[in-house]
């Protein structure tokens, strides 16, 4: 059953915003430099986040991707004496615990340049580049995403599987938990976009910590990677066949895995979530759990015009067909989505559809976007629900 996400109370701030106090002062380079040196940027004061840029330009703006909000937010130029380097600013209100990725856009005449905020050291990385991060009041980087000194590390082992279905060799990486023993039996988690989860969502560290903290069961985790992602992930029969009839038997032959559907989970974000869902749908009774993050579950209620571009055509065909005749594809589904991403609408819409099939569905939202750090921050919720650790059984 899904439950309401609990957010911290709205942040409060008393008194004048720092930028307004600065505006009231007699400004020169020294005053502005001291002002910037004494603060983290963006300046977070209660719900108000003040973005700043310093430099000569014809126009400056904050660019973010919060859905249903103006994504191009022009900055104002602070009045400064001639000869002083200008300071640009804009204040945006963000709800508690928000995490927003953004860039600064600077226009000089016809030339427009977009780059990470030079005043903000916090940067999030992804396969398509990096962005600056604004952490609103109440957001905290979870402690379990950074290495803990007493958490014993698991091992990553490279594997090669010749795939007839995909007509290529695949190179998954297998995470074996610390204290892995061949005499034990382990649940299996197969992760789409595996290297990205490792590189941008700190998943190896997260696994080490969650298993060490007994939040998650000792699990064998297989990080898979696509060849042609836009062909293999949106409801591809060869991909589903590869995972189920090639990779899974190879893993079960080589590793001590629990050979039951309830001990198997497919996981992915965005198109990876579609790949997880469609693989489970094509192989009923094999994959008992799904962990779907910001799934690209785009569908149409009328016609087929979805506005997502040709890459989404097979997704929409699959989702429309599924919505016509929903059926249980997994016993348990953990679904997460950021409220600032456009996919929040289809994800919210699909939760009751999945629930109607009798699957146990847990749905969690966050004040975040379509980003790897969002998916990272939800890993503990999902993994500890899918494969709970023995916390309840261990009493030191």
């Amino acid at each position: 059953m899904s439950q309401q996400t609990a957010y911290p109370l709205p942040p409060r701030h008393k008194g004048k915003l720092a930028i307004n106090a600065l505006r009231a002062r007699r400004l020169d380079d020294q005053v502005i430099e001291r002002f910037l040196a004494e603060r983290e940027v963006p300046i977070v004061e209660g719900p108000k986040c003040t973005f700043l840029y310093r430099g000569h330009a014809d126009g400056v703006a904050v660019r973010h991707r919060i859905v249903n909000q103006p994504q191009h937010v022009p900055m104002k130029r602070l009045e400064v004496p001639e000869g002083t380097t200008p300071l640009w600013y804009v204040t945006i209100e963000l709800p508690a615990a928000s995490r927003v990725e953004y860039q600064i856009e600077v226009r000089q005449g016809e030339a427009v340049e977009t780059f990470n905020d030079p005043l903000n050291p916090y940067v999030a990385h992804s396969p398509v580049g990096s962005s600056s991060v604004c952490q609103a009041a109440g957001y905290q980087t979870p402690e379990w995403v950074v290495p803990q000194p007493d958490a014993r590390p698991g091992e990553l082992v490279d594997l090669t599987v010749q795939s007839t279905a995909l007509r290529r060799a695949t190179h998954p990486r297998v995470y074996l938990p610390a204290r892995f023993r061949r005499s034990s039996r382990y649940p299996l988690l197969v992760v789409h976009d595996g290297d990205d989860y490792l590189d941008y969502a700190a998943m190896r560290t997260v696994l080490d910590n969650l298993i060490h903290d007994l939040d998650m069961a000792e699990t064998v985790v297989v990080f898979t990677n696509p060849g042609d992602r836009l062909r293999e992930y949106p409801n591809s029969a060869p991909h589903a066949r590869h995972l189920t009839t090639e990779l899974l038997p190879a893993l079960e032959e080589q590793l001590p895995l629990i050979r039951r559907s309830d001990a198997r989970c497919l996981m992915g974000a965005s198109f990876g979530a579609v790949a997880s869902l469609s693989t489970a749908a094509r192989n009923p009774g094999v994959w008992g759990n799904l962990f779907l993050q910001s799934g690209s579950f785009v569908f149409t209620d009328i016609g087929s015009d979805h506005g997502g571009g040709p890459a989404f055509d097979p997704v929409v065909t699959f989702m429309n067909r599924y919505r016509e005749r929903p059926r249980r594809v997994a016993e348990r589904m953990f679904i997460t989505c950021g409220v600032y991403e456009p996919l929040i609408v289809p994800n919210r819409s699909m939760v009751p559809v999945f629930e109607s099939t009798g699957a146990r569905v847990q749905y969690v939202e966050s004040r975040d976007g379509h980003s790897w750090e969002n998916w990272r921050d939800r890993l503990r919720d999902g993994l500890s629900w899918i494969f709970p650790g023995p916390q309840k059984l261990v009493y030191e």
Partner: protein
Amino acid sequence: MSMPAEGSTDGDGHGAPDHRITLLGPQREPVVDEVMRSLGLEGARVATITAGWRDRERDDTVLVDQLGGRCVNLHLWQRMQQIWEEDPELERADRRRRQVLTEMQELYLIGLQKAVEACTRIRGHQPRDARVHRMAVEDVLEIIRELDERHVQRVGEVNEEFFATHEPQHRDPVVRGRHEVGHLVGECEAVVIAGGHVGVLLGTLHMFDLAPVLATAVPDPRDPRGVHARVDRPVLAWGAGAMAITERVVLFYDDSVVAPGVAEVLMDGLGLTRGLVALPSATDRLDIKDPDRMRTLTHRCQPRVALPLDPGDRVTLTADGRVPEGTRVFGPDGTVTRYAAPVAAPSTAATSADPSTTPGEEDA
């Protein structure tokens, strides 16, 4: 009275030495040495059980230091692995048993969560008639208790069936292991059982049949079964060790990641104690500020008393394994209070007046 280690005779009028069980809070900052000293057990040879630590069973340097080196680890977990290696048929059967128990636990928990959710909703209802509201709360609590009792009963049946079908007690590796363990314990003056994974610990204690090794049954007219266990040597236990030697093991962890946890009964323990449910690290693991949750928990423990074992706690039970007067416990309203034993009923006829000794009620 002589110190327990020396063993006075006639603690209960049946000639059995007056050895006691001492339950401790978590030993992250160990005080085993102090406790042993205070019990007059300094220098005593001690059998240790660290099977709850599983593959880290042998990482017992700190414990060995605390016991001054005069100890022998029974290595029950390691012995269990050896049995599995030598008797794959038994290993397969036990694996199957554990799978069945796991599934039973999962399904029991699904029903339990719904019942606890209903209890919370009913308690939160604004009563138009207090009596109706009270009856509804009592009814749903009874349903929860019935779920608990049925679950324990069925777990017991699965375990009995396993032992009856596969007769580990007649298989060579098990017979050998039990003999060696019994011999080692026999050479010791005290037993220490550490915490860890309570399921694994209970599994090893049962496989090596530690209950009769640690205790003797003595007649007890106060007990519904007519006997109680009298330990043959002092026993110190904490964490999962404390839970495993009680009559009933209740799992609890309110600080669950996704949703508040629901306490669940795992199975019966060794039954060396009487009338208590051990709750190690209770203050850390339970949301003790939530009176409804705590009331539900203590109600489910009844007629046993919910005994918190927090850091620094030390409870030496009475000779017949009961909680002594004045011990810090969770009362019926879920708050911390001092334990007062129920007034003893006349020995003829009226044991039913004493809720803690009503025949059959403990197992109902």
